[in-house]
């Protein structure tokens, strides 16, 4: 990994790329930036209809239960799948100019992260409208959970973006892989219904802990389980270190491979 100091020197580049991405995302559409809010609202509407009328279950306020897990998951899966092609997408830049290559996945993940933060405005609106109270103390844990998820997503994006340069299939494999991963994470169901023999696998999945923490704070209005938080944090740091190590090894030949 390039020295952190160098990355810090290039912070303006990260900022510029994030801004360019966010501004360019809905460019040309009539509603423009409003889509950032309309999209999650429409998703919420679909889930509410499906799970109230077609597939009713006994979880109270299921739409909220699902929603507070789904938005963080979308951030994570977008970082992994979209992040994997981020280096390839910027090949013109990489072939012709020097900058710490980590800047590209970092900007991509950060832009997804900012998008999630904007979606949280919708989440809070829904929480207030639904009448579920907000626990201010528990809310203090929210930034910590977000940072942990960010670290995890960044680690994965560094890993996948570097490998995709050499092995372009990964992009497509990841599409199905993240779908499977979503069903292996208790987002649509409660962890309590997971069969006992599969539980160790679920506990190894860092996203299980992250989603549980989000849900504790936003749905349950309680302080998340410390063990969950610590283990997800540990796994997040592990993936970040692994991701940057592999990225650092592979990035030397980016310009030739692209």
């Amino acid at each position: 990994m390039s020295s952190l100091k160098e990355l810090y020197d290039y912070r303006q580049m990260i900022f510029s790329l994030v801004r360019k991405d966010l501004r360019g995302r809905y460019k040309g559409s009539v509603l423009g930036f409003l889509w950032t809010f309309i999209n999650p609202l429409l998703q919420l509407l679909v889930y509410t209809i499906v799970f109230s009328y077609i597939l009713p279950n006994n979880i109270d306020k299921y739409y909220l239960y699902l929603f507070v897990g789904l938005i963080p998951w979308i951030f994570f899966s977008a970082s992994v799948t979209g992040g994997s092609s981020s280096i390839v997408a910027q090949k013109d830049l990489i072939k012709k100019i020097y900058f710490p290559r980590e800047v590209i996945p970092i900007s991509y993940v950060t832009s997804c992260f900012v998008n999630m933060l904007l979606c949280f405005i919708v989440i809070f609106a829904v929480i207030i409208i639904s009448g579920t109270g907000i626990n201010p103390v528990a809310l203090l844990c929210l930034p910590v959970i977000m940072i942990v998820e960010y670290i995890l997503a960044l680690g994965m994006a560094l890993l996948t973006s570097a490998i995709t340069v050499y092995f372009r299939d990964l992009e497509h494999i990841l599409g199905i892989f993240t779908m499977a991963w979503m069903y292996m994470t208790p987002i649509m169901y409660e962890k309590s219904i997971v069969p006992q023999n599969l539980l160790p696998l679920f506990n190894l999945n860092p996203m299980t802990h992250v989603i549980e923490c989000y849900r504790a704070v936003l749905y349950g209005g309680e302080i998340p389980d410390l063990a969950s938080l610590v283990s997800s944090c540990g796994l997040g740091i592990f993936f970040l270190v692994l991701g940057s190590f592999i990225f650092g090894k592979l990035q030397k030949h980016f310009a030739e491979e692209l």
Binding site: E6, D9, Y10, R11, Q12, M13, F15, S16, L17, K20, R23, G24, K27, D92, L93, I94, K95, K96, I97, Y98, F99, F167, R168, D169, K252, H253, A255, E256
Partner: protein, 427 residues
């Protein structure tokens, strides 16, 4: 040389590229056609070492594919050498890719921020330079318009202004001093000189030897992955041009041989010619450059310097003797020999013939040679094409040979234009 005086230290670097014969990129292709991912390894750099002092400017020269651009890419860290080390002391800015990250829908001002940030500048640093950048680009009125409304010249001016205002310790330039109109180019040039004077080291890759001579103290000639020669630009550039001149001659020779082979074949298969349009075209092209009634034919052209040594490269102000051999098939009455010198833009720099020069009329009856001695050829740096012609007195071309010969002229001073006019300043 003490350590902190060295800005760039390149020590015995090598670089090889894998040239895939037919690369399968995805899994299916890799598994199915495993044999296809065979590749050749080509050693592009075979051990290059040099040092650049602080405030020194060097030029890398060499023919296409010799490894000079690869060297520059290694210096910018876009690629890494396979062996050897490169040490760069200080901030590096490169004028290799101008306008990196420009977004067409954003304004010029916003793009300055994006582009400069790619060079590693912080917001504060960009704020400080913003006025300099805008005024250097001469785009004050348009700076808040989206970049897509810019002309390509304006685009390049903006991009160049950002790159040159980074205030790097080391500036790497690849063949891009052709930005904008003549005024802007002169401005860029002066800016480069002042940047250099302020202690920035510069590495330039260029085919324009004139530019290198004006800025650089040293030229490094890279040939087939190794440094062939190194020294003051005037000497090295001359050596390089002579070498390239010889190469060119060899190549033209080969081409001529090929063409005559084709012609022979043509003659053997005269009946087939109508069915072979490609060959017809080929000979058409040839005839566009050469025409005449064929009573006499130019067979050989050579240029000599004042010491009677055959040359392709001359210095501005030298004497040039051109010797033309010809064969005569049929007597040419009132023959006229002519010469025309053109630069690569197609502008005739000089032309004359024996009639214009009022020589006594003569006939040519048998094979012979004709010489013309050009005194003090004051043409400036560049490549020149020479037309040679034989006409008969009634103005009918006997053998008009366009672009029959090429010479290179190198000027040791930086004056511009086509020809040097003798002058004095009185101040």
């Amino acid at each position: 040389m003490s350590k902190d005086e060295i800005a760039i230290d390149v020590d015995n670097i090598t670089k090889k590229f894998k040239i895939y014969l037919d690369k399968g990129n995805d899994l299916k292709e890799r598994l199915l056609f495993r044999k296809r991912s065979r590749y050749e390894e080509r050693l592009v750099l075979k051990g290059i070492s040099f040092q650049v002092k602080k405030g020194e400017a060097i030029g890398l020269i060499g023919h296409n594919g010799c490894g000079k651009s690869t060297t520059l890419k290694l210096l910018t860290k876009i690629m890494y050498p396979d062996s050897g080390t490169i040490k760069m002391n200080g901030r590096v800015s490169s004028l290799i890719e101008l306008g990196a990250g420009f977004h067409p829908d954003m304004s010029g001002r916003e793009n300055i921020y994006t582009n400069a940030s790619i060079f590693g500048l912080t917001k504060k640093e960009i704020d400080e330079r913003l006025n300099d950048i805008i005024s250097f680009s001469e785009l004050e009125e348009f700076i808040d318009n989206p970049v897509r409304t810019y002309s390509s010249g304006m685009y390049m001016r903006l991009a160049f202004s950002v790159a040159i205002n980074v205030d790097a310790d080391i500036l790497l330039i690849d063949e891009i001093l052709g930005v904008g109109d003549a005024n802007f180019q002169a401005k860029c040039f002066n800016k480069l000189k002042s940047i250099k004077a302020s202690g920035t080291s510069i590495v330039i890759v260029s085919h324009s030897l004139g530019q290198i001579e004006q800025i650089c103290e040293r030229s490094i000639w890279i040939h087939e992955g190794v440094i062939k020669a190194e020294g003051s630009p005037k000497e090295i550039d001359l050596e390089y041009l002579e070498f390239m001149g010889q190469k060119l001659q060899e190549n033209t020779q080969k081409e001529l041989e090929k063409k005559s082979e084709i012609k022979d074949e043509n003659q053997n298969k005269t009946e087939d010619v109508s069915e072979n349009p490609e060959l017809n075209q080929e000979s058409n092209q040839e005839s566009k450059k050469r025409w005449g009634n064929g009573k006499a034919r130019i067979t050989d052209i050579k240029a000599f310097d004042q010491n009677n040594k055959e040359q392709k490269v001359f210095k501005t102000g030298e004497n040039i003797k051109i010797k033309v051999k010809y064969t005569v098939n049929q007597k040419v009455e009132d023959a006229v020999f002519g010469i025309g010198i053109f630069n690569l833009d197609g502008i005739q720099c000089y032309g004359t013939n024996t009639r214009i020069d009022k020589l006594n009329t003569f006939n040519i009856e048998k094979n012979g040679t004709v010489e013309i001695i050009l005194d003090d050829v004051n043409l400036l740096s560049g490549e020149y094409l020479i037309d040679i012609a034989i006409e008969s007195g009634d103005g009918i071309p006997v053998d008009y040979f366009r672009e029959a010969y090429r010479i290179n002229i190198i000027s040791s001073s930086g004056d511009v234009g086509i020809t040097r006019i003798k002058h004095n300043w009185i101040i």
